[in-house]
Symmetry: C2
Subunit: 267 residues, 2 copies
């Protein structure tokens, strides 16, 4: 079993209720990565609606940071099951406090055909010509880079002072686990914030809400992500993300509302 | 009181529970417009979290069509109230069946300042040079055009066979009610589907899920909307929307996952 699958493993503790553990291997700084917490909730939802294994539309609101190394409880509810989609919700709780609220449509993306309209991937050097995601040199403890290998576009890796709110990079599991639709959701929230380039600032960009649309199942290999911020007002930004598989198929569209904390550190 | 405010009026029937009526004035064909149903739910949520009157991030999943002319019940839950945001959920029910499930963050957008990064509105002729939204000639009963005045870009009004999945238009309430952030959410789901242009098809494009981000309060006057579909695979499309106020400020970013029904009628 892959590290990721092991670290989102749950036990059933009641009707629609599951228990797991927030593994500290997925920390960014002192907090668990939000994408990882979301996959814990989705792991529960896939058990609650097993006929529809693929997350098709996922919205999460982050109510409070997760607590690494501690157990979590996930309560699920199936709102409606149709032929092609199940609509579901989940609440992830730790220490009796809700941390994530998730509303999602699950489906079955087994039989993907040709796209009628799609978004092509950007030009990108191969992974071995792309430097790894910077981390510790920014003073951040990034446990997550032990789980995920992220290689950034060489023109953007130092773009943190470059005036452009864009980050492009290859991503894969370090232990060789192939990507799937669940990984597509995870990868939508594991890149450095694209806004670091524009505002010349590092620090905390907490996500208020993230919506991920998964369009098809990915081919085996690296995935390519591109994230951009076009809209930053009053300390609230909207970041758009796209992820393609190594065959150039669009797998994910994502969008998040995040806060730029005043305490962000000027570089 | 404006028609819209009258037609989303609710009475409190219990703790966090409200009752209203789905007015048939907002029908598109035989079904109530989804944007209108969503504002009914938001009307309840604003009462449940009165300190945060503006919808900042709203996600709705449409479980079943609404029933025009019938009462509706909205049950709300406040998941968390912070200083700047309240996270809330709502279920809109008719005839004992849930129709909409809503998850939202509400805030207070009174004090909007300058945008650090934003998206400028497209070039657009003034409203009096733009023809009204077509409707009855497509065989659709569009009661909603009695409530909303929509004037489309002259190059796009016949674009239904033009090969471009884009629709741009001015929008306002017919009775002169000024736009606000609630109207911003409504207007995000009241234009003709942008995909009609690309696929040369009219018909039913039911929304599975819609997420609307409201960025600031609009100035009084017309609002300008632009909607595009870049991504259509296996009968599921993602449509992105933008709405500006008459002063050129970006008010709304929206995105929806919708189905293209096989029964869509070729034009």
């Amino acid at each position: 079993m892959s590290q990721f699958d092991d670290e989102i493993r749950l036990t059933t503790i009641g009707t629609g209720a599951y228990e797991g553990r927030v593994d500290p291997a997925w920390n960014i700084g002192a907090n668990p990565n939000g994408g990882y917490l979301l996959t814990l909730a989705l792991s529960a939802l896939r058990q609650a609606a097993p006929e529809h294994p693929d997350p098709v539309s996922v919205t999460v609101h982050y109510l409070r940071p997760g607590v690494p190394g501690q157990p979590c409880r996930i309560d699920t509810q199936v709102l409606r099951t149709g032929r092609t989609l199940s609509t579901v919700r989940a609440t992830l709780t730790q220490d009796g406090l809700p941390r994530l609220e998730v509303l999602a449509a699950l489906g079955d993306l087994t039989d993907s055909t040709q796209a009628t309209a799609t978004i092509a991937p950007p030009a990108m050097p191969p992974p071995d010509q792309c430097p790894p995601r910077p981390g510790p040199e920014q003073g951040l403890d990034l446990s997550i880079v032990g789980r995920l290998e992220i290689r950034l576009h060489p023109d953007e890796v130092h773009a943190v002072a470059g005036g452009r709110a864009q980050v492009t990079g290859w991503i894969r599991f370090r232990d060789g686990r192939p990507p799937d639709t669940l990984a597509g959701v995870l990868f939508a929230d594991t890149f450095p914030p694209s806004v670091f380039g524009q505002i010349g600032m590092a620090g905390w960009v907490p996500t208020v809400e993230l919506t991920v649309h998964v369009r098809r199942r990915p081919a085996e290999g690296w995935m390519l992500g591109q994230f951009r911020t076009h809209d930053l007002t009053d300390g609230r930004l909207i970041e758009d993300g796209l992820l393609w598989d190594c065959a150039g198929n669009l797998i994910v569209q994502s969008r998040q509302l995040a806060l730029v904390r005043q305490g962000g550190r000027k570089l």
